[in-house]
Symmetry: C2
Subunit: 184 residues, 2 copies
DNA sequence: TGCTTTTATGTATTTATTTACATATTTCAA
DNA sequence: TTGAAATATGTAAATAAATACATAAAAGCA
């Protein structure tokens, strides 16, 4: 069973989800296309880690909603006792940054401004969802959901995403401050 | 030509490097095994983006040292004008964090303490290398290498790595502060 | 009515990446 | 002196991931 399979199990452990919903929801943590997800769900079902229910929808196409089994929960508990492998980050901008001195300041600025936009767009979504969890859990300023609450995981992940985005924005702005302004 | 090929070109554009050196050097930006790198270098050479020189060593095995050609530089300049694709981050700890409420605080702590160690180990190496560049370029406190200097790229990348590591450490410590202490 | 988008699920093919297999030299430690 | 580790280069096989192919229902628009 590969990491993505455990990731799907992890999401399903919170609440039943369709393959399509899983595909959308797992993107921030472990990007994957639906073509990778559907076959893994079929395998998880074959191994009795999950079950699914066909749900007819009148407004949208029908779907399969997957739920975790007790065997699936057991798999997750076991997986959690093993150390997490190192994170893998692949960012084309890093490779471009290394040889950025080959091009003019205008070309350079474009790259970092685009990335700045990328992170700014993400940040507002994270802030909204943190507020939602705070409200739903009745938390004050610096409060956490309890460690044994399912909200704990989502809460700390949103904070990580928010902190990382803010740091990346700071970095982009710092880099842009060192690129000479375009002359007119 | 894929992203890794451009990454190799980008590193070679600073100074000639062997396949083995490239493999070691590219890890922080675009992890890759030597088995992926050697065939790409052969293709780059076939397309006249790089040339290599056989270098005999008395203390170590002989090696092929690759240098960039003017055609290679042209490829890089062209590539730099295209927008950088979105960064891809895959972190098993994020998937584990999402269902962390399934396990006891002790198991939970182990995961985050291990990750804390991971980032602390990285941070000291980055600080050392930033000092090296500062000294070599004769820079003061808040100074940058000039935008058209090859050092500019390495300098901003090291700062990004340092800033990200610090943020990740803060996040791990913040999470650990919310996990109940182990009872004895 | 025909066109696009979103939701929904799947398979086939190609590309990217990892792991394993293979070889060779030097240094260092048990 | 045998074995491990680092340096060095390569290929083969397996797995992971992306792209493309395929179908379909509903909604909204022109």
């Amino acid at each position: 069973m590969n990491t993505l399979s455990f990731g799907l199990l992890s999401l399903i452990s919170h609440s039943p989800l369709s393959g399509y919903d899983l595909m959308l929801k797992i993107q921030p943590f472990w990007p994957a296309k639906h073509s990778q997800i559907y076959p893994l769900l079929a395998t998880l079902e074959k191994n009795h880690q999950v079950t699914y229910e066909l749900v007819s929808q009148s407004d949208k196409p029908d779907k399969k909603v997957y739920s975790i089994t007790s065997k699936g929960i057991e798999s997750l508990r076991n997986w959690l006792t093993e150390p997490a492998s190192d994170p893998v980050m692949r960012d084309e901008l890093m490779l471009k940054a290394y040889c950025i001195s080959l091009v003019d300041p205008a070309t350079s600025r474009k790259l970092f401004n685009a990335r700045l936009e990328h992170y700014r767009n993400k940040i507002s979504r994270f802030e909204d969802r943190i507020s939602q969890i705070r409200a739903a859990s009745g938390l004050q300023e610096n409060g956490f959901p309890p460690h044994n609450s399912p909200n704990f995981g989502a809460f700390i992940l949103l904070h990580k995403a928010l902190m990382s985005s803010r740091t990346n924005i700071q970095w982009c702005e710092w880099v842009l401050s060192a690129i000479p302004p375009e002359e007119i």
